[in-house]
C-alpha cells in the first residue's frame, strides 16, 4: 500500500474544506436552526409527541441524516469530478497508486467532512431540544457508515458525470426525494397502510429508522434490517467502484 499517497490525497482534499471552513461550519448551523424554528417550534408545537418523544427531538436523527447524506454525496462527487474537469486527474492516473488507495483518499476525506457537519448539527440541536442517545456506539456506527457509503456513491457519480448538470441530477432527482419520503420528518407508522408498504422499498427508511433507534430506541423497521441495508448498500457501491477501476470506465481510455 502507498499510504503516503493516500495521506497526500486526503490532506489535499481536506485543505479544500478548511479553505471554506466558515461556510462548512456556519451553513449547517444556520440551516439546522431554521429547521428547528420552523418544524420544531412553529409547527412542532402543534404536533403531539411521537411515542413519547417531542416532535423537535424526533426529527433530529432524520435532520442529521439529511445533511450527512447530501454532503457525503456532494463532497465525494465534487472531489473526483473537479480533477477530471480541471485535467489534474492526469497526476493521479500517472502516480504509482492503485484504485483502493485513490478511493480511500477521496472517499475518506469526503466522509470526514460529512461526519464533521453531522456532529455540528447534533451539537446545534442540543441548544433547541433535549436529546438523549440510548445506544452511542450504534449511533456512531450508523453515522460513520452512512458517511462512508454515501461518499462512495458520490465518488461513483463524480466518475460517471461528464458535466456539472449530471453531477446534481442523481442527488436532486433521486436522493433528495428518497430522504424526504424516508421518514426523516415523520414516523412511517403515520402513513396509510398502502404507503407504509411502498415506503419499505425506500432504502433510506432503514437508515433513518436505525439511526433514530440509536437515539430513542424507536424504530420503524427492525434494527437488524437497518444494519443489513446499510451494509448491502456499502457493498454494492464498493463493487461498482472496483469494476470502474478494473475497466478504466470514464477515467482511463
Amino acid at each position: 500500500m502507498n499510504w503516503a499517497a493516500v495521506a497526500a490525497i486526503y490532506r489535499f482534499e481536506m485543505a479544500r474544506f478548511f479553505r471554506t471552513l466558515a461556510q462548512s461550519f456556519f451553513s449547517p448551523v444556520l440551516s439546522t436552526s431554521l429547521y428547528f424554528i420552523v418544524f420544531g417550534t412553529a409547527i412542532g408545537s402543534r404536533i403531539e409527541t411521537i411515542e413519547g418523544v417531542s416532535y423537535g427531538a424526533f426529527i433530529v436523527p432524520g435532520l442529521i441524516m439529511l445533511s450527512v447524506v447530501t454532503l457525503a454525496i456532494s463532497n465525494a462527487s465534487f472531489g473526483i469530478y473537479f480533477p477530471k474537469f480541471l485535467g489534474t486527474i492526469y497526476e493521479v492516473l500517472s502516480a504509482p497508486i492503485n484504485f483502493l488507495e485513490i478511493v480511500i483518499g477521496y472517499v475518506g476525506a469526503a466522509a470526514t467532512k460529512a461526519l464533521f457537519v453531522g456532529l455540528v448539527i447534533l451539537v446545534t440541536a442540543t441548544f433547541f431540544v433535549d436529546i438523549r442517545v440510548e445506544h452511542p456506539i450504534a449511533m456512531a456506527a450508523f453515522l460513520i457508515l452512512t458517511c462512508l457509503s454515501f461518499a462512495l456513491l458520490g465518488f461513483i457519480i463524480g466518475i460517471w458525470a461528464s458535466n456539472f448538470e449530471q453531477m446534481s441530477l442523481i442527488p436532486q432527482l433521486v436522493i433528495t426525494p428518497l430522504i424526504f419520503l424516508g421518514g426523516t420528518f415523520y414516523s412511517i407508522t403515520m402513513l396509510p397502510p398502502v404507503w407504509q408498504t411502498i415506503t419499505l422499498f425506500n432504502p433510506v427508511v432503514y437508515l433513518v429508522s436505525g439511526f433514530r433507534w440509536s437515539f430513542y430506541g424507536l424504530a420503524d423497521v427492525p434494527i437488524f434490517f437497518s444494519l443489513l441495508a446499510i451494509g448491502a448498500f456499502t457493498g454494492i457501491c464498493l463493487a461498482i467502484i472496483w469494476w470502474i477501476f478494473k475497466t478504466g470506465w470514464r477515467i482511463r481510455s
Binding site: A5, F12, Y90, E91, P96, G248, R252
Partner: protein, 309 residues
Amino acid sequence: MTTILSITDLRKSYADGFEALKGVSLDIEEGEILALLGPNGAGKTTLISTICGITMPSSGYVSVGGHDILNDYRAARRMIGLVPQEIALEPFEKVQNTVRLSRGLFGLGRDDAKIEDILRKLSLWDKRKNAVKELSGGMKRRVLIAKALAHEPRILFLDEPTAGVDVELRKDMWEIVRELKENGVTIILTTHYIEEAEAIADRVGVINGGELLLVEDKDNLMAQMGRKHIEVMLTEPVDAIPDALKQYDLTLNGAGNAFVYSYDIHGERTGITSLLNDVAKAGLVLRDVQTRQSSLEEIFVNLVSGEQA
C-alpha cells in the same frame, strides 16, 4: 550507455477504430534528451500518455528501468515525471501545497528542503504561498514542472513545454532542461518547433500518423542539414560535364543547361572559388547562380509529406 526506457511495437486503437499508435518501437538511453517532432495529431501525446499510465496500450510492451509499465507499474511510474501539455492545476490551492501533493502521490514523505530547492530553481519560491490562480501562464507552467520534479524522477516527459510560451520563458525552459540533464535526468520532450529540437536535443525522432518515421542523432541530422547546394545555370546547354570539371562531382540536369555542386558549409574549403574559376576556364558562360540549404524543417516536411502521399 544503458537503456532506461524501452518501447516495443506499441499500439493504441480507440473504441471508434482510430489508430493513434501503429507499432512504435524506440529505445531511450539514460541521460539523453530526445526530442519528438511531429505535427498536431501525430501521436506524440498518446505515446507519452501510454507510457505514463494515463492511457491503456492496445498491445506492445514498455519497460521503464527494466520495470514493465503494466505488471510492475509502481516501480515504473516512480521513475517518471510528466509535464502535461495543457495547464491543469487546482486554482485555489497554494503553489507549495500542490507540489507537496505530487511528492506524496508518488509515495514519498514530506521533504520541505527538497520542495524549497525545486521551487527556488524554478523561480517559484517567492510565489510559494500564492494560490495557483494568481500566477501568470508562464508561472503556472513552472508549477507543472515543479510538480513533475517533486518526486525526483529519473525520466522527465515534457509534452510541448514551450507551446504558447514567450521567447524569454522558452530560453529559461531550455536552461532548466539542460540543468536536469546535467543531473542525469533523461528527458523526452515533444515539440513542433524544429529550432527547439536543434537547440537542446541529443537525438531527434520524427513521428507522424502514429508511426515513428526516423530517430537520428541530432549531429548526424545537422550534418545532413549542413550541406549546401549551388546551382549554376548556363547560357548554352552542354551534353556532358566538361573534363576540366570532372573533379568536382557535379550533377547535370536533364536539359544540360544547369548543374549542381554540393559542399559542406562547415568545411575549411568550400571549393566554390576554384569551381567558378574552372567553369570560366572551360569556356562556359554563366546565366545565373543560386544556392540552397537543406534544413531540418525540409527533412521533416519531406518525411511527413512522403508519409501522407
